[in-house]
């Protein structure tokens, strides 16, 4: 089987090249890995990726009744936050700081004595100083606490405005509210607002939509989308790069030498095509399996995943061969491959997978590129879609891929006639 001899020779060459291996497997996994590390740890609480940060809280707020200090303590202790922070109430500032110094806690939160007054003082609007005392070696934990308290304070700004509005309204009717009354009104507004659903834990909605829904789907789906984009980008790259060996062999003189052996030209070209297809198949299967193991991505049911694997390989091979059929020298092929794949990859949506705020017309633009169609299919399988959901994009990939194959074959056969 000379056709396989030629294909295996090509594969031996490319799998021996460290650069090719990095582009095939290293980069897509690495880039997705970076996303995974950046987002995975925070959100994926269920997997104990990150232990909750230990927080010491000292409440020195002396105000009686509905005091802001108490509200903040209650907020930090709330059920929703237990995955993120473990709160211990400390009797005094010194012992709280001591706990941080001895690394018993990551952060100490010190609520000052005049906290309620300052926070509700609509006249001054002065910034309230809640002191955070933190372990300098930690980054993420103190950051979370800072965000949480910031959000709590923002919320109170709302209350303060409400208090101010109330005072003004009362004034219209000839009632004067003293400072305390407006404070009380503000705090009551705040508590009312909390019961109405404007809870502080909305913060978690912003930062981590994941923890809101069941069984952490959104995170793996985010990482899955990123991985799909990266995989497709580098699979299309590998398709063109492997096809480039045709031009490379032309320059090396080995193609001409092959033509002097008793091996027909169509067979030599076919061997090259086979090497592209097998290489891509190995790449896609490896990336799907490796990313499932490394990042816990659930690519979907076996059948649709198998379909999309074949569709991706055929389309990326056809597209790569077509690109290379326009290229005369390896000097040209770098810019052509790089430029064409970066542009079509970007328009195909490969770089923006997992982003929520993409304008909807972009989904239409995606489908003007080959990459957009396979991405659509993979997005379906990632979302648990069956064969019925991917059959459209799959058919397009196969038909388009075979068409590109055909055109590339014609161009190459004319060139090497």
């Amino acid at each position: 089987m000379k056709i396989l001899d030629i294909a295996f020779k090509d594969m031996l060459r490319s799998f021996r090249s460290g650069f090719a291996i990095i582009m095939m497997f290293g980069l897509p996994l690495l880039i997705t890995g970076l996303f995974y590390l950046a987002f995975g740890g925070i959100i994926n609480g269920d997997n104990d990726q990150l232990a909750p940060t230990k927080v010491q809280v000292v409440n020195l707020d002396q105000t009686q009744g509905v005091a802001a200090g108490n509200s903040l303590v209650t907020f930090l202790q709330s059920q929703e936050l237990t995955k993120l922070i473990a709160v211990t109430v400390s009797p005094d500032e010194a012992s709280a700081r001591q706990a941080v110094d001895s690394q018993q806690a990551g952060v100490a939160v010190i609520i000052p004595a005049n906290f309620s007054n300052t926070i509700m003082d609509s006249a001054t609007g002065a910034a309230t100083a809640v002191t955070l005392y933190q372990d300098p070696t930690l980054r993420l934990g103190p950051q979370i606490v800072r965000e949480l308290i910031g959000h709590f304070l923002d919320h109170y700004n709302g209350s303060r405005i409400a208090g101010g509005v109330l005072a003004a309204q009362a004034g219209k009717y000839g009632v004067t509210l003293d400072n305390t009354a407006s404070q009380v009104a503000g705090l009551e507004y705040s508590q009312w607002a909390q019961t109405q659903g404007a809870q502080p834990n909305q913060l978690l909605d912003l930062q981590a939509p994941a923890s809101q829904s069941a069984n952490d789907k959104p995170l793996t789906s985010l990482i899955g989308s990123v991985m799909a984009g990266m995989m497709l980008f580098f699979v299309f790259y590998t398709g063109a790069d492997t096809a480039e060996t045709i031009v490379k062999e032309e320059e090396e003189g080995t193609l001409a030498r092959l033509f002097t052996t008793p091996t027909s030209r169509p067979l030599i070209l076919a061997g090259k095509f086979v090497s592209v297809v097998i290489t891509l198949l190995i790449q896609v299967v490896t990336l799907v399996v490796a990313s499932a193991l490394l990042f816990g991505i659930n690519w979907g049911a076996p059948l649709p995943v198998g379909f999309m694997t074949v569709g991706t390989v055929v389309l990326a091979a056809g597209f790569g061969l077509l690109l290379i059929s326009f290229v005369k020298t390896t000097r040209q092929s770098g810019p052509v491959i790089g430029g064409a794949l970066a542009i079509t990859g970007m328009l195909g949506g490969l770089m923006t997978t997992g982003f929520n705020n993409i304008p909807s017309f972009f989904a239409t633009i995606n489908l003007l590129t080959p990459q957009g169609w396979v991405l659509k299919g993979w997005t379906s399988t990632l979302g648990g879609g069956g064969v019925g959901d991917i059959i459209g994009p799959w058919l397009v990939s196969i038909v388009l891929g075979l068409a590109l194959f055909g055109v590339a074959t014609l161009i190459f056969r004319r060139r090497f006639a």
Partner: protein, 333 residues
Amino acid sequence: MLQVVTQPQVPGKAANHNGPIAIRVEGLGKNFDKIQAVQDVSFEVEEGQIVSLLGPNGAGKTTTLSMLACLLRPDSGDAWIMDYSIKTEAAAVKQAIGVVPQEIALYSDLSAKENLQFWGKMYGLRGPKLTGRVEEILELVGLTERQKGPVAKFSGGMKRRLNIGVALLHRPQVLYMDEPTVGIDPQSRRNILDSVKKLNREGMTVLYTTHYMEEAQELSNRIIIMDQGKVIVQGTHQELVKIVGEQDRINLTVSQVVPKEIAERWHALEGVNRVSLNEDNSLTLLVSDSNLILPNLFEVATGLGARITSVDIQEPNLEAVFLHLTGRGLRDS
């Protein structure tokens, strides 16, 4: 500058045709856009002979070989290798020939052994036969010790040797070698020339291109001189040098005498055909046989009280033939 050259009739040409013909070329022509790379080239190579295509850069040697290797389609003419037409029986032609390309054509990221294994498969060798041949060739080209490392790390000479080895894997009946000694050290060159002779002794027909006349002279049964796409002359080495006449050229410098005086005396000698006086006061003589005439030249000089301070004898060579036929040197271009 441009001479119209009609192919001289070389005596004894027909008498050379004894054995069966391995390569028969008739009226081969090839154009690249406006360049007529090969025009109306015809020649024959008998089985078991080494024939050289000798010519300067751009003479059309590689283009001719490429057509004979079924790599390029001729625009006119045809050729038969072991009686297979390059136009209609390319597959059979390719099985019969081994091609050593002018530029090294190997996979530089594969080892010598991997290269040989792959190319062997392209010639249809498999299994133990392939393994055996690969070992033999490694031995033949002296690369058994270096069979594992990537070819990229080889010296120029080692690459050249492997480049030749690849063409021998399937024991071709006819071997084309396109300037196989270009750019390598004298020792490797010697090596290659010797192995070409050895292959030929074992019965292989060789078509060899070169622009070194010494190689053509040493190796070939017959020499075909090409220039600007055409065959300008062909024959054995002896036949070709006869074209410039059977004269040796002797360059002499003399002292203590008026050169003109000695020139006249020398010219009067039997066997001296021409004496010319050069600008640097040296003398150039065309003689029938330098061995016979040299003692007489010295005798005359002594009689005149002159001293011969240098003698340089040039037997007629292919360089002179090329110069004679084209008005240019082989290495002008």
